[in-house]
């Protein structure tokens, strides 16, 4: 299975991923979406190799800008700036970068080991699930994402509902009736790729036109040198507990849908600070902060694939794209995957490990090159990104209609960002809409039309109650925070 071709694909994917992660304005999701059309002609495992390489490398690429420019390349690197940037200012950029790479590699490997050991038992349990359980778990994932992402829970839920509704366009999978087919081109539904390209890439181009292009920051410390792995053996031993604890936080967070590395790095940083013997030094430029942030954000990468492979439920936008890619390649994810495509699943595990090692090699070896590419002017880069999006949208089905869909969702994405409607629930709703509908309709059929039949299953009942509670809790929290903010504003005025 491991060929020279697949190794080369992983290497190119790793380089592309680091760039997408490192260049502010480009994102890992954008990278995966743009590369998706290229995978059409590949075997499923090579396609996944490319996407996984971008996913893993994108996460770590962001640490370069976080340390050298004080701008997190991705939301997963926010906490890396807290100590990484002060280290660069103190002339320790090389040490910060080296440490970041090392703990990223270790965090990802620990996460992949978890994936390897946990995925199969979970899928064995999931095999027992029927439509009641699958509907309830999917609904729970969707409500959790919708309520956790963004500032306004109502807008999060609205984005999730809009995503599910968009997935319904076209002919129904059960029954076959046409829904929301206002023009003939919509009869086949909306393709995921143009939708993604529009939301994540075209919207960024429109945003830059509307708000002005961010100036290229000068790299704070160009004269860095990475010695060895960045940190000494003594420092590694000293950081060992922090490393393992932060990785475990990342692994735990990664499995939960919708939370992901954007949260895990901040949580792990806070825990490391609270558990430290010298919390006052955090933020001044110590490696503890980088170890916590980078190991935890990388540790979400393997565990985020657990719900994808075992239940067919993505944990974040990138795994949602990967799930879409698997569907395009005719691979059905879910509990049966281990039974029907066992070799393929173990191929994914192997790919994860190889990509992680390649990430270390590429980042240690090519750091200087990556830093130089950071200086590519955005006014040249972004139009080229848009051209690639048009290529991707057209190549999905060879239809100009899909190019229009890309542009329309570019405008919708821009408006969503501007008016604070989160995009992640929309993507998740779009990906999960089909599963949700299929299992709801099947479940209702089993329960002879009564929704209460879903509560006959304890697992389904648990997740349905949890879904309701997550919405109720989020609304309560939103109202409470809003009242607190008002009271604080009033106190300030007084």
């Amino acid at each position: 299975m491991l060929t020279f071709e697949s190794l080369l694909i992983m290497l190119l994917g790793t380089i592309a991923g680091v760039l997408f992660g490192a260049i502010p304005g480009l994102t890992t999701t954008m990278g995966v979406a743009i590369m998706l059309p290229i995978t059409f002609g590949m075997s499923p495992i090579n396609a996944m190799a490319l996407l996984i390489a971008i996913y893993i490398a994108g996460n770590s690429g962001g640490l370069i800008t976080a340390i050298l420019l004080k701008i997190p390349g991705t939301p997963a690197n926010v906490a890396t700036t807290f100590d990484g940037a002060p280290m660069a200012e103190n002339g320790e950029a090389g040490k910060a970068l080296g440490t970041g790479i090392l703990v990223s590699v270790i965090g990802t490997l620990l996460s992949v080991l978890t994936l390897i050991f946990i995925a199969r038992p979970i899928s064995a349990v999931a095999l027992q699930f029927g439509p009641f359980e699958m509907f309830a778990i999917t609904l729970f994932a969707l409500t959790l994402i919708s309520t956790l992402v963004g500032d306004n829970v109502l807008k999060g839920l609205m984005a999730g509902v809009a995503g599910v509704t968009l997935s319904l366009i076209g002919f129904a999978p059960i029954g076959g009736a046409a829904r929301f087919v206002f023009i003939p081109d919509l009869s086949a539904g909306i393709n995921m790729l143009p939708l993604l390209m529009g939301l994540f890439a075209v919207s960024e181009v429109i945003k830059m036109a509307a708000e002005g292009i961010p100036k290229n920051e000068k790299v704070a410390n160009m004269s860095f040198k990475i010695r060895g792995f960045g940190m000494t053996l003594a420092e590694f031993k000293q950081q060992f507990v922090n490393l393992i604890r932060s990785s475990l936080i990342g692994i735990g967070v990664g499995i939960m849908p919708g939370i992901g590395s954007a949260t895990s790095n901040v949580v792990a940083y806070s825990v490391a600070k609270s558990q430290s013997k010298y919390p006052e030094k955090f933020g001044t430029g110590i490696i503890d902060g980088i170890v916590a942030s980078e190991s935890s954000n990388s540790a979400t990468l393997g565990s985020a694939m657990i719900p994808v492979l075992t239940l067919g439920i993505p944990a974040d936008t990138v795994t949602a794209v990967m799930m879409g890619a698997l569907m395009i390649h005719g691979v059905t994810v879910g509990p049966l995957l281990f039974e029907t495509s066992g070799v393929f699943v173990y191929g994914i595990f192997a790919t994860y490990i190889i990509c992680t090692i390649l990430l270390g090699v590429v980042m240690y070896g090519g750091m200087r090159g990556f830093v130089r590419i950071l200086a590519v002017p955005k006014h040249i880069l972004m139009p080229l990104v848009l051209v690639l999006c048009i290529v991707g949208a057209f190549a999905a089905n060879f239809r100009i209609f899909d190019v229009w869909i890309t542009l329309i969702f570019g405008i919708i994405g821009f408006l969503m960002v501007k008016f604070k409607y989160p995009m992640t629930p929309l993507i998740m709703g779009f990906v999960l809409g089909g599963i949700l509908e299929l299992n709801l309709v099947r479940g209702l059929s089993f329960a002879r039309g009564s929704f209460w039949g879903f509560f006959d299953s304890n697992i389904a009942a648990f997740f349905l109650v949890a879904s309701v509670l997550s919405v109720v809790w989020s609304v309560y929290k939103g109202v409470r925070d809003s009242r607190k903010a008002k009271a604080a504003a009033a106190a300030n005025k007084g």
Binding site: N152, L154, G175, F394, V403
Partner: protein
């Protein structure tokens, strides 16, 4: 307060109106006795929730005083939208390579800030805008067997580089 949130209230209203339109459409899904049974359940459920959420968001938006990021630079924004629409309209008639060259260069010019308006930058943008679409066209055609529109009205004579 409402004037301050005018744009966000308009967006919230549009979201609600789309929901209402979809709700009406969902009530008219053609369900036969056998064919179509079950097809209407989720569309009706989702659009009902959409309308409910839409009303709540609109009402809470009318009461809140929010700020929404940077101010929009209206001319570059509208020019970019016009360019994107032109791109989609001309993609088939004049082909991917030519329309991408025109789009890339024009978009680069829109993005170019005052201090970068130099002869060197114009030449660099021009060269990249010409070379990039040609390379992409050839890479996709030769390596991935994906043929992008070559042009129906105008067709460049030098599309294939290798």
């Amino acid at each position: 307060m409402m004037m301050k949130n005018l744009y966000s209230n308009i967006i919230n209203l549009v979201v609600l109106l789309i929901g209402v339109a979809l709700f009406v459409s969902a009530q008219n899904i053609q369900v036969g006795t056998l064919l179509g049974a079950g097809s209407e359940i989720v569309p009706q459920l989702m659009t009902t929730v959409w309308v409910g959420l839409g009303v709540l968001i609109l009402l809470s938006g009318l009461r809140k005083d929010e700020t929404y990021g940077k101010k929009i630079r209206i001319i570059p924004f509208l020019l970019t939208l016009a360019l994107l629409i032109g791109y989609a309209l001309l993609l088939r008639p004049i082909g991917f390579v030519l329309v991408s060259m025109i789009y890339s260069f024009a978009q680069m010019m829109i993005f170019t800030s005052e201090e970068l308006r130099t002869k060197r930058n114009y030449i660099l943008c021009g060269v990249i805008a010409v070379v990039f679409p040609l390379v992409i066209y050839n890479v996709f055609a030769n390596f991935f067997s994906i043929f992008l529109p070559a042009g129906e009205v105008i067709r460049l004579p030098f599309l294939f580089l290798f």
